[in-house]
Amino acid sequence: MAGRSANGRHGLRGHAGRTAALARLLHKECIQLLELYRNSESLPSSPVDGGYLVSIPPLVPQLSDAEKISILHAALKECLRLLEDVITREDAEFSDEDSEYKRKLKTVRDRLGHLLASTEQLLVDGQKFEAKVKEELDGQAASGSFGLKMWIVRVLQDLVHWTGQTSDTLRSMPAEMEKAPKTMSRRTRRGAGKMRK
């Protein structure tokens, strides 16, 4: 690193700042991904009705920022699981296809993994939140190909939504949270399991 003393430093930004920047980047990429998918599948740009697939406890103002992050972290984790289901399904159907959409899809997946790893550092010990998924991939088999695509759109919409939420929440976080980034909590990881209906 010529001319820079990078070793042992994490940069001038704090961890929360980096996480916020990452959430913002991911949110933007999710928007691009959704746009790419709609374009590739010639789907209407209007949102698909039916609400978000992932549901979490309401982010009421009474919750602390850490609690909000923990809740959003649970939602993002579900989003990642759904996204991997999408990738698995699409790889099974169009394994040879190499499109910008597929590249972006995998980038978003990786970036979401990065965001999850990064937000995990901001979680508060002892607090456990779970997110619920209303419609899984398994239930889409009966609704045919169109139903599956609509479900994928909904997954991508969820991604846009929850990454946006996370980005906004992280940006609004005070600087104090950056002062004591904790190490990854095993308990939190264990508690971040799926919450199904």
Binding site: R4, R9, K28, H114, A117, E120, M184
Partner: protein, 863 residues
């Protein structure tokens, strides 16, 4: 057939090298593969004789490769075990074998076992790890290229370098198995923007492993963005001192927020000026360059870096050239010392024309308008002594007129003093060295004459070929400064003349006048180099022991520095000699050279930076020195002259002799007695006048005869007498006339002559007219004739008469009767044989003189 033979040999080798499975010895440690050992360490192996072996430990021998290990390295553990300890070096890779065999003749089977050793070094800790991921399209590439210093030691054994890149719990790794790998690329799948990335490299081989220090930082520190996109430079029409620079971000700020750096320079200059980074720190896409010079071309380029220097710098963008707008002129430079016009330093626009006015003692003398494309003008004006002239000039461009610049022409009778002790030095400043000039301040001369300032002028010498006038640059220095650095972009290896002018001012005629003092000039180089070429030497004079060499001074533009000295190298064969002379010497005489010898000579020119030899030449010293040839010629000529004079003198002294030799007196046949002879007329009457005989009797040298041993004489006489030849003249006479000549005869002959046949013979030496008879035996001519003898027998009285003309009977050119007589002792004269006297009736009356010649009497007997 051949391959099966090779296979058999291989099997035999393996059998003996490794040993059969049922070998009676075993080595510990053992391994199914090779045993890797560290160079420099001791290694101990133990050979065990298996149970039932016929050998003891004394029969064990260790062999490394094909060489038996010295017994000193062995250690006997017990009767069946022997260990060996060796210090490992890098050449020991190969088989280490233990062999048990009887030293004496034995039927016991040889036991052998081996282990394969490989030697090497443990890895070194990789140093200076650095990783970079370049921008790819609109994102940062997922490929992280890392490099490090593995150390220079050859590890000799297989070594694996593994690069680890961890993003928290997510880990990526890549193995690089290249020998002494220095770099490796790890694929991160997706570059972890806004994450902390931890990178290190591990190196591992059979002898150990090492791990480099970790790079753990925000991943942006590994990113290298592209240069700014679409960089444009726009002229600000209304602001002639500004240029607007615009660009586009090369990457989205959500990935990497950038800050920018801008630098610019005048198109005519190489010095870049960087805009302070604090001005361009924000995430901006335009910047206005200010404080530029109007109507000047500038070159602009940009680069970018992650905010707060959180990435690598990008490369520089392409350079953009643009000009600032025109502006009204602000000033025009004073041009001291030169009347010809020159474009001002800050033209601020295109100069349309110049207004020039020449004044004499503050009164207008003449005025001219000069167009910008015709700057070189000549005007003449007589300046009376004591009067002062001034020249005022203004420049006009499309916007306005410049302030007036005035040049004062000083009175010719007044030269103002210059500075003293002017010197220069080079300061090694970064990035370029600078030239510093210092001098001693001029002393105040008069209270009305003030030192206004100093002016430093520098002129590159020599100028380019196409330039017709000196291209001078200058800078002004306040009057209280005596040391300054030239704000000049001086070329390396070029000579500059640096002058310091003190500028004085004084008040006269209700206005201030300016006048330059005497300039002090010094040549200088900002950096000296070795000359481009050496001097070409020629030999102008070559003498016997010296030669004069001449070489030209190297042209100034090729000197590239001050010549410190010349070194003359001259060599003969393998012997080289050199002479060093000063820088101002261009002719030198080499002394003490060997004569008539080839020399190779060349001259080397040296500056403080180095030396260069010039083209050499070959010359040969002369064989003779100055005047030697002339002396030889004079001596030879004088010698020839003396010899000639001597010969002439000798000829004069001996002219009579020579005359006789060269022009012998040949008898005139018309006056001979035979012409007047008739049988009835007594011949006696003509005898006193005429030559009776034309027979020449030449005999061999009497002197040589004298020197002969008299005892040998009879033998010689026989010889001489046996060689008879017919005479030339006499012979012909005898043939053409009834006259008989008698020369000699031996005893027998005389009897014959008297009895029946008279032999007419002549004896002559061939020394006629200068020929050398002494080297030729005398020739005797004999004529076989039955003619009766001449009447000299019957007329012995004729003998006396004939005797008086005996000079016709010559012995040769060199021998004259008178000369020979003293050398011979009368009766001992060898050519006076008694036999001849007996045989010849003439001999009965020997001549009274001691001469041995037998003169033929004149007179012929009529037949």
């Amino acid at each position: 057939m051949g391959s099966s033979h090779d296979l058999l040999l291989l099997l035999m080798f393996l059998h003996y090298a490794v040993g059969p499975t049922n070998s009676c010895v075993k080595i510990l440690p053992d391994s199914s593969s090779s045993i890797v050992l560290e160079v420099g360490k001791d290694f101990t192996a133990t050979c065990h004789l298996l149970e039932g072996s016929a050998y003891t430990s004394d029969d064990i021998e260790w062999i490394l490769g094909n060489v038996s290990i010295a017994k000193q390295s062995y250690r006997k553990i017990n009767e069946t075990s022997v260990s060996v300890t060796v210090n490992i070096n890098s050449n020991m890779s190969g088989w280490l074998r233990c062999r048990a065999a009887k030293k004496s003749l034995s039927y016991a089977r040889t036991c052998i076992y081996g282990i394969l050793l490989r030697t090497g070094y443990p890895p070194l800790k990789p140093k200076n790890l650095s990783c970079i991921a370049v921008q790819e399209d609109k994102d940062i590439s997922s490929y992280l290229n890392c490099s490090w210093d593995p150390g220079s030691r050859n590890l000799l054994i297989d070594t694996t370098y593994t690069i680890y890149a961890n993003v928290y719990v997510l880990s990526n790794r890549t193995d690089c198995n290249q020998h002494l790998a220095r770099s490796c690329v790890v694929n991160l799948e997706t570059f972890p923007i806004h994450m902390v990335l931890k990178v290190w490299v591990e190196v591992k081989n059979a002898l150990g492993s090492e791990r480099s220090e970790e790079l753990q930082t925000d991943s942006s520190y590994f990113a290298k963005p592209n240069p700014p996109l679409n960089v444009q430079v726009l002229t600000e029409v209304n602001i002639p001192t500004c240029l607007m620079v615009t660009w586009k971000h090369p990457i989205d700020r959500t990935i990497l927020k950038l800050s920018y750096a801008i630098e610019y320079r005048k198109a005519a200059s190489d010095v870049w000026i960087e805009v302070p980074e604090s001005f361009t720190r924000g995430y901006i896409e335009s910047f206005r360059l200010q404080s530029l010079e109007p109507y000047t071309q500038y070159v602009v380029q940009m680069r970018c870096i992650g905010e707060s220097y959180s990435s690598y710098w990008s490369n520089w963008s392409h350079s953009i050239t643009e000009s600032t707008a025109e502006a009204s002129m602000t000033c025009i430079i004073h041009n001291l010392g030169n009347v010809d016009g020159r474009a001002p330093v800050k033209a601020n626009g295109k100069i349309l024309l110049y207004n020039l006015s020449i004044n004499q003692d503050n009164e207008m003398f003449e005025s001219h308008n000069i167009t910008a494309d015709n700057l070189r003008q000549t005007y003449s004006m007589e300046l009376p002594t004591g009067k002062m002239a001034s020249i005022e000039i203004t420049a006009v461009n499309s916007v306005g007129v410049s302030p007036k610049a005035t040049l004062f022409i000083p009175r010719s009778d007044k030269e103002l003093p210059g500075v003293e002790n002017m010197s220069w030095s080079v300061r090694d400043e970064k990035p370029e060295p600078e030239l510093q000039v210092k001098w001693t301040a001029v002393l105040p001369l008069h209270h009305t004459l003030h030192l206004f300032e100093y002016l430093l002028e520098w002129v590159k010498i020599p100028q380019a070929v196409h330039q017709t006038e000196l291209q001078a640059d200058w800078q002004r220095v306040p009057n209280n400064v005596t040391i300054t650095t030239l704000n000049a972009d001086l070329e390396k290896f070029k000579r500059y003349n640096i002058s310091v002018y003190p500028i004085y001012k004084y008040y006269s005629g209700h206005m201030w006048h300016f006048q330059a003092g005497r300039p002090v000039t010094r040549p200088a180089y900002i950096q000296q180099g070795t000359p481009e070429e050496g001097p070409t030497v020629t030999v102008t004079k070559s003498k016997k022991n010296s030669a004069e060499l001449t070489w030209k001074e190297i042209p100034l533009d090729r000197q590239r520095g001050f010549i410190t000295n010349y070194t003359i190298f001259y060599e003969i064969g393998n012997t080289k000699q050199s002479v060093m002379v000063g820088p101002n010497v261009h002719t030198y005489v080499l002394m003490d050279l060997a004569s008539e010898t080839d020399y190779v000579v060349n001259v080397e020119a040296s500056t403080e930076a180095g030396s260069v030899k010039g083209t050499g030449c070959t010359f040969k010293t002369m064989k003779y020195g100055d005047g030697e040839v002339e002396v030889i010629v004079v001596v030879v000529c004088l010698s020839f002259l003396f010899l000639t004079v001597f010969i002439i003198m000798l000829c004069l002294r001996k002219r009579e002799v020579l005359k006789k030799l060269l022009w012998p007196q040949v008898p005139d046949p018309s006056d001979s007695s035979i012409a007047h002879w008739s049988p009835d007329f007594p011949i006696k009457a003509d005898l006193p006048k005429e030559d009776v005989s034309v027979v020449e009797v030449d005999v061999f040298d009497g002197k040589s005869l004298c020197e002969e041993d008299k005892g040998v004489l009879p033998l010689k006489k026989d010889k001489y007498l046996s060689e008879e030849h017919s005479s030339g003249i006499g012979g012909s006479s005898c043939m053409s006339s009834p006259r008989h000549s008698v020369s000699d005869s031996d005893e027998g002959d005389s009897g014959q002559t008297t009895a029946s046949t008279v032999q007419y013979s002549s004896v002559r030496a061939s020394g006629y007219k200068g020929q050398t008879p002494s080297h030729q035996p005398p020739a005797f001519a004999r004529s076989e004739s039955t003619q009766p003898l001449l009447d000299c027998e019957e007329h012995p009285d004729h003998l006396n008469e004939s005797h008086s003309r005996s000079s016709y009977f010559r012995r040769g050119q060199e021998l004259e009767p008178g000369v020979l007589a003293p050398e011979c002792d009368g009766g001992s004269l060898t050519f006076c044989p008694v036999q001849e006297e007996e045989a010849s009736p003439i001999a009965e009356d020997p001549p009274a003189s001691a001469l041995c010649y037998m003169p033929q009497k004149s007179g012929y007997r009529p037949q």
